[in-house]
């Protein structure tokens, strides 16, 4: 590996990968480092809504304007990552009618197209909705897949010569005369440490940006804010469903491929790694969601999880939902005089491209590169497209993942976990939560990649344990039965607890 690049980007979420691609398109030599796999931070633990901006029009018009602009661009350049479901806002008889007028005015001002539909018509199209709808509007919301988006950004950057390393953690900065001139990295598989020298570092660490900046002795006020989400086994509505009221907990349903992601909550946490969803949080969400989908409590939940928002308040002001969803570029030379480091914090996934543009505009100028940003003009593509296969070729039947897709998802990778494969293919994301595809995929890789038995066992064990973790907060009804079946297969039949397997940090 080349130990010298112009720019190092820290963080493989939407923002960091977007930055990498923008740098590469401007011909800047760059390396991205991510401590886990791509999109394992907040960009893989979010709601999956490509905002139209309508949610923010009343309180945060500027954010709303950015959203609608980016919404249009991303639908153009990243169709592989987006399902253009459309969205709807519904007000029920219990909601404040005064808010609707403010909301409509805000949408008009932000340039977000709204189209009213009568409650009766809407119920015909979306029979799961409450009959208490009094007003309903369509907006251009969509569903976005954060895993695919991050991978597509990196693929596009790599084609232009950029580098990306996952499972590589930044553990320190090399500072010289109040200037950052390199980063110390640790490979999580091998434990090996090394130095990569550079002219500039962009910190796109999301909720971890504060911790990362801390390694350079910088103190920035990132407030991790936890949000809980649950996943239902099927599509409850065909469009994104928003509650037409001031933004609150449990008011968005996003149809995502074959499932529905519902949430969310907002709770300040001091730890960006706090991604546990509790039973209480899930139950509160369900109670709230039942106002929009009366039958919600009878529907099968397959998972619950949490993500951590990277909210940033320069002056230590508002927290939680009151905090701005705008993003901020922090030039550390302005803050403390430290050269060579810029942090980009806050924002939303929907506006990741704008954040990247702002960061790269800044760094390009410092480096004397005057090429403009063209990320809004060039397409990006999923590395593992869905492809049809013969019936026997599907190893994950819930989500129709074929052997070919398994091959494509590990192309060029030395080490990998089944979770890495899952993020690119949806392997194990269906109702059985990996029960049947985990042993099949392990067997397939064992054979096709000549893995050692302990390596193969490690794949199996890690994946099934990861899947269990997410099911725990929703263990009742059908998912509890499913888990019993999983336990029967893995603990009884395969003796999982006594399998000899590799040991590493992953």
């Amino acid at each position: 590996m080349n130990n010298k690049v112009q720019v190092v980007v820290i963080g493989g979420g939407a923002t960091g990968t977007g930055i990498l691609r923008d740098l590469a398109l401007r011909g800047i030599d760059c390396l991205l480092v991510e401590q886990n796999d791509l999109a394992t931070g907040t960009s893989g633990r979010f709601h999956g809504l490509l905002h139209s901006g309508a949610r923010y029009v009343v309180k945060d018009l500027h954010s709303a304007e950015e959203c609608i602009q980016e919404n249009k661009i991303l639908k153009q350049i990243a169709p592989d990552c987006i399902e253009d479901t459309g969205g709807m806002f519904i007000a029920t008889k219990n909601d404040d009618p005064g808010y609707i007028d403010k909301w409509l005015a805000g949408c008009a001002q932000a340039g977000i197209e709204t189209k009213e539909i009568s409650p009766t018509e809407l119920l015909k199209e979306e029979p799961a909705l409450t009959p208490d709808v009094v007003k309903a509007y369509f907006v251009p919301d969509a569903a976005v897949d954060g895993f695919t988006l991050a991978a597509a950004n990196v693929l596009s950057a790599q084609k232009l010569g950029a580098m990306a390393r996952n499972y590589t953690k930044v553990i320190g900065f090399k500072l010289e005369k109040n200037k950052v001139c390199g980063v110390y990295l640790k490979d999580k598989y091998t434990g090996k440490e090394e130095l990569v020298e550079c002219q500039y570092v962009i910190n796109a660490g999301g909720a971890w940006a504060g911790q990362i900046a801390g390694l350079a002795g910088q103190n920035i006020n990132v407030n991790p804010d936890k949000g809980v989400l649950v996943i239902f086994n099927h599509r409850i509505t065909n469009r994104v469903l928003n509650h037409l009221r001031p933004p609150g907990d449990g008011d968005i349903f996003v149809p995502h491929g074959s499932v529905t992601v519902f949430g969310t909550t907002s709770k300040v946490t001091n730890n960006p790694d706090d991604t546990e969803a509790t039973l209480e949080e899930v139950l509160e969400l369900l109670a709230e969601g039942s106002n929009l989908i009366p039958d919600l409590k009878n529907m099968r939940l397959i998972r619950a999880f949490a993500g951590v928002r990277p909210l940033y308040q320069p002056d230590g002001g508002q927290l939680g939902r009151e905090a701005t969803r705008d993003f901020t570029l922090i030039d550390h030379s302005q803050l403390t005089g430290l050269e060579g480091l810029v942090s980009v914090v806050g924002g939303k996934l929907t506006t990741y491209r704008l954040m990247a543009k702002a960061a790269v505009d800044f760094v390009a100028e410092k480096l004397g590169v005057d090429k403009p940003c063209i990320t809004h003009q060039e397409m990006i593509y999923a590395p593992v497209p869905k492809n049809g296969a013969k019936p026997g070729e599907y190893l994950c039947q819930c989500e129709m993942v074929s052997k070919k897709m398994l091959d494509q998802s590990i192309e060029g990778k030395g080490h990998f976990s089944l979770s890495d494969v899952r993020r690119l293919t949806r392997l194990g994301m269906g109702p059985c939560q990996g029960t049947f595809c985990t042993f099949r995929a392990t067997g397939y890789y064992h054979q096709s990649r000549n893995l050692k038995v302990t390596e193969a066992n490690k794949l199996l064990k890690d994946h099934i344990e990861e899947r269990w973790k997410g099911s725990k907060p929703v263990l009742w009804g059908q998912q509890a039965q499913e888990t019993q079946l999983t336990r029967g297969i893995y603990l009884g039949l395969l003796n999982l607890e006594r399998l000899e397997s590799d040991n590493n940090e992953l």
Binding site: N233, H234, G257, S258, G388, P391, E399, P431, Q478
Partner: protein, 400 residues
């Protein structure tokens, strides 16, 4: 998504129990099977919107609608429900094959045939017709012979009233079944009336013509309900007709009407099991040995094997009751050229079992099972009523 069977997909644990019972899976490894075609793919179909069929949906055509998967599922999922629904959706999208249309409308064939039996029987035997049918995609096999119907009903008044719905097969191919059923019902002191309704819709439905099936269901249900409200019980002797009236109608025309109908439909022997009298001649010598094939659609009704029970009690000494096999014909399935080899492969274990058991004849309730078994074994096949009628106390045979 609405309720009812739609939401059953939430209950699927992927345990694959249904696969172990699917006769197509067992004989054709490329068939994705009930679990995948049903609850699994339905989630993805919802995702793709109804307009774009999935590539794999093509294999829906191989589902015989035998419903063994529905009974097998320990969680109450009904995979065949999704198969039927999506077959219909696909049919609506492609130009439906003329052949499927003809087979779905066997009632039309039946009607022509029963009026001019000579003509149809001749036409079906004629080699040219057979090869034209070959071109059309109808497998070269013997079609049911159409017979003229002449039915006698005693018409005595009684409080026990039955509206007998014989269905297409008996009406157009084996009116003997109708007469035998009436004789038996009358021996049990029922007042019998013959239903003047059309085809129940089974073949139309399993060929994916759901809209048409729905129309038939609404019409038929209307007629049945009139009788039911006058105190009649609806009786069938065809397992598929029975299942359709009991179960399918509640799927394709959900509501109180189909629910009321469901409560009042009886398989003939299901009804007779509740009667205390046994109007059969106990002294008549029993048949030594026979083989009873349980039709899939009888199994799916969940009423056990009432005909076989009665046969054992009254007419057959050693009755082999076998419910492990699907004969493979599944209504009109086995008549289709591209499915003929699969149909025969599905039936093969049954054919072997029958041949090995060395019985003089086979008994089964379903007309199309009968055709398939005769085709596959050359052993004669009889409907239970035809046998039991001969054991009635005052039956003609007794006089000799």
């Amino acid at each position: 998504m609405s309720n009812g069977n739609e939401r059953n997909l939430d209950h699927c644990l992927k345990c694959s129990t249904c696969h172990t019972q699917c006769p197509v899976v067992a004989n054709y490894p490329d068939f994705p099977g009930p679990k995948q075609l049903g609850p699994e793919l339905e989630r993805l179909r919802l995702a793709k919107g109804q307009e774009k069929p999935l590539e794999i949906d093509e294999s829906l055509a191989l589902c015989t609608n035998c419903k063994r998967c529905d009974i097998a599922c320990p969680h109450g999922v009904k995979p065949s429900y999704y198969n039927m629904k999506n077959k219909a959706r696909l049919q609506g999208q492609s130009i439906s094959k003329f052949r499927d249309w003809i087979l779905a409308h066997n009632i039309c064939w039946g009607k022509i045939g029963s009026k001019i039996p000579g003509l149809v029987n001749f036409a079906l035997k004629f080699p040219l017709t057979k090869s034209v049918m070959g071109l059309m995609g109808i497998a070269n096999r013997d079609f049911p012979k159409y017979l003229k119907q002449q039915i006698k009903i005693r018409n005595s008044k009684n409080d026990k009233k039955v509206l007998y719905y014989p269905g297409c097969y008996a009406s157009f191919n084996e009116p003997e079944i109708i007469q035998a059923t009436i004789d038996i019902l009358e021996a049990y002191d029922f007042q019998v009336e013959l239903a003047s309704v059309n085809c129940c819709g089974t073949p139309v439905m399993s060929n994916g013509l759901l809209d048409e099936a729905r129309e038939m269901a609404i019409k038929n249900t209307g007629v049945f309900l009139k009788y039911i409200r006058e105190g009649y019980k609806i009786v069938t002797t065809c397992s598929s007709c029975g299942l359709t009236l009991k179960e399918e109608y509640t799927n394709i025309i959900p509501g109180t009407n189909s629910a009321e109908l469901k409560q009042n439909v009886w398989d003939l022997f299901e009804l007779l099991e509740e009667e205390e009298i046994l109007p059969f001649n106990e002294n008549k010598e029993k048949i030594k040995k026979a083989y009873y094939h349980v039709p899939c659609h009888l199994k799916a009704q969940g009423i056990g094997v009432p005909a076989a029970n009665l046969l054992k009690k009254v007419a057959v000494k050693d009755l082999i009751i076998e419910d492990n096999y699907c004969c493979g014909i599944a209504g009109t399935f086995g008549f289709k050229k591209e499915k003929y080899p699969i149909a025969m492969a599905i039936g093969d274990p049954l054919f072997k079992d029958i041949k090995n058991s060395q019985v003089p004849f086979v008994i089964t309730d379903c007309g199309t099972c009968k055709l398939q078994i005769m085709h596959g074994t050359s052993v004669p096949v009889k409907h239970p009523v035809v046998i039991l009628r001969d054991y009635l106390k005052n039956s003609d045979t007794e006089k000799f």
